[in-house]
Symmetry: C2
Subunit: 228 residues, 2 copies
Amino acid sequence: MSPPPPATPFSESPSPPPSAEAADPPETQPTSARRRPGGRTARVREQVLDAVSALLVEGGYDALTVDAVAARAGVHRTTVYRRWKDVGGLLADVLDAAGGDGWRPADTGDLTGDLTALNQEILAGLSARPPITEALIAASFRSDEAARALRRFWDDRYERCGAVVERAVRRGELPADTDARRLLVAATAPLYHELVLLRTPPDPELPAQAARSAALAAAAGAFGGTRG
Amino acid sequence: MSPPPPATPFSESPSPPPSAEAADPPETQPTSARRRPGGRTARVREQVLDAVSALLVEGGYDALTVDAVAARAGVHRTTVYRRWKDVGGLLADVLDAAGGDGWRPADTGDLTGDLTALNQEILAGLSARPPITEALIAASFRSDEAARALRRFWDDRYERCGAVVERAVRRGELPADTDARRLLVAATAPLYHELVLLRTPPDPELPAQAARSAALAAAAGAFGGTRG
DNA sequence: TCCTTAAAGCGACGTTTGTTGTGTTAGCAT
DNA sequence: ATGCTAACACAACAAACGTCGCTTTAAGGA
């Protein structure tokens, strides 16, 4: 959850497929358009994406202009404009590359502990300086491309966090019909709300507090699939 | 809560003091600087703020450029740049003007009902088209000025919502040491998270669901001031 | 090796954004 | 009324943004 402390921030993305195809919806004739993902194209992509990550880490979102990325990557401006359209497209590509990591939620033995650990990761990610996560969220308001990518990223994270709920159900901590997504949102949303929207200074007790109250409500059946 | 359905969207702001002073921190000498809030200055401010509201309603955040505002207000570009700095400054001024309304949370008779009503207002505000609330949030990522104004606005809303918690305590629904702010954040954050950050389509059951689970946890003492 | 053609390079262009210096208008006090 | 000057208008400017047509390079199949 949260474009989290991906220990390796964003860099090395071994994913070879360029985003060109993902960018264009079902558009090109599958036969006529013989793409060419080899050598130079891949190299340029790697250079550009590295430049994006570096600039983002160094100067935040403000430093992230198409011109700066192109200059840093040693690539011509028009190349970036053609392949990624704008800054949002660049971030979308970086995000998709970062989403394929092997992240898994911690297993502490009980639900509240798992949710607390999760929230602590989110807190760390949102408190990191420079604020990369904020930069990505900010970008999602400027570019539909980035917004979709961020949504995919988070959906993937929530999917993986479903394991936390499953374990709790198996242990008998939760009703079997618990809606995992709603529970996870209830547990994590306060952190995003306070830190991202309300801009409150980080409260070290908030992760555990939010985890406890969500777990408590869940145990009482507040996230039951039937009556909600 | 939420830059909500302020029945009168933003227009007529009877607040006379121009933002010039609020914009500049303690900077000018209190004696030498004799401000001049009369006639023309006030008229220009009104024209510009009206233009901001109109453009925001018509075309959303993308339509809100300094040039467009100046043109619509029949005022020169440099005037806007000098007094409001950028789009964020404009929105901050509009927000401050809108914050002074007489909004109060509904009183339905019980805690869950009050929170549900509150959440339904938030849902309505976030689902409104064009998305004015999103525009304000987006602006808060671009401009510190707008971010501070939005924070003030929300703080004011949470302050007023404290009445909901007080009533519940008086009725015996909640422990006396309940932390109002944490409870309110827990109840409302899921809506913002789903609609603003995750961009999930509006779920008409979410307001009641989030209200129920927060109220349940609160009744169990999960938001107690002492042990949290 | 050679040919085709994606994909990148290149430079020029028009637009938008934001700044600065200077002149003009009009509050407000006398 | 009259003078002072805050606040606005105007114009010229620089920098950034984004697009376009054309040329060059090199990937990948024959």
